[in-house]
Symmetry: C2
């Protein structure tokens, strides 16, 4: 496959263009083809061991988006955006889950489950060592998905606002996650900036590259 790559200028311009939207234009919706690519970007996110310890919720109905704003300190982003994504992660990763992943691997790679036994031992060994810290690990994985999601949106010219510090228990309730293996980690509103969002024109604040990057 020959890959059509982005120029370095396009990449950096896209990251300069993005910002955390404060006010979305509620009249602008993400079209179906673009949304489909964003969902594929979520599903294709890399994860440790390939385990994908997450589920993604996409909220686009006006009723449910309004409910999300109500449990997000009435911030307008969930209700005014086009699509809200809530990234959730597994609280524990158990043997049954690993086996469901290995079954999927065997099927998609057309190999036997038995041939994956070495990998199974490595993964289960890692999970045993990480006992009590599974959610911290799966939360980190969900943030890879958030990073890839924000990058994908920027590349497609779609605006976004990552939303941390949301009310986990209320989100879990709304998403029907009580009693499940998953819990809310972080949200991301996606859509298009309102022409009146003055945050769009503020200079981006970053430490200097020489403060953040060390070459060895």
């Amino acid at each position: 496959m020959t890959l059509a790559t982005l120029s370095v200028k396009q990449l950096v311009d896209s990251y300069q263009w993005r910002y955390a939207v404060k006010r979305f234009d509620p009249s602008k919706q993400i079209d179906a083809a673009t949304w489909s690519a964003i969902e594929k970007s979520l599903v294709l996110t890399p994860s440790s061991f390939g385990l994908q310890p997450w589920k993604f919720f996409v909220i686009s109905s006006p009723e449910n988006k309004a409910k999300l704003s109500a449990i997000s300190w009435n911030q307008s982003q969930p209700s005014d955006c086009s699509h809200m994504v809530v990234l959730t992660a597994r609280k524990t990763v158990d043997e049954a889950y690993v086996d469901s992943f290995l079954a999927k691997t065997a099927m998609q790679r057309n190999v036997s489950v038995e041939s994956l036994v070495g990998y199974r031992v490595v993964v289960l060994g890692f999970l045993k060592n990480a006992m009590g810290r599974h959610l911290a690990w799966s939360s980190n994985q969900a943030y890879i998905a958030l990073g890839q999601l924000l990058a994908s949106a920027a590349m497609l010219g779609v605006d976004a606002c990552p939303m941390e510090g949301i009310a986990v228990a209320e989100y879990d309730k709304l998403l029907g996650l009580f009693g499940s293996e998953y819990t809310t980690i972080v949200g991301c509103a996606l859509g298009y900036r309102h022409s009146d969002d003055h945050y769009a024109s503020l200079p981006k604040v970053r430490f200097d590259a020489c403060e953040l990057v060390t070459h060895l």
Copy 2:
């Protein structure tokens, strides 16, 4: 600014093309312009409150790359790749750090530090509530940077291998982080796949979209 966006097909093709490289081609180096864009992608990564609680180490000298392989269970990726990035995060985020960020904000936005006092109160309130969990939070932020890094590399046609579970204490020692506010979180080797890396041709394993994505 008119943004030159990527087509949805290019985006998805890039994510299909990428995989976790097992064997890099040591004869292929990332050129300076491409590397510069990748570093900009790191620096421009979004973070909670914009706090950027991280430092990035770029290891490209053969001697130091070999040292990294030696403390990475002799995996070949650090020594054979072109550039190895180690993402580190702050162990605590204190008032002095927040003030250094606000000073940077004031300078880059040409406003007074005093005008940012409301934001200061919100950020310090968040950090007080998160006392004892700063590293978990800053680790999550570092994983946003990892996600954006992996996406950026894919968009530019650069191969990568994220490396979790590395020996933190040994990495911290090599990077000179002992006694500092930062600690190693995760690594990422970048370069170009070896033509003999058979992992490149394996089908990508993902749960079905209907298993991972719920629409509400």
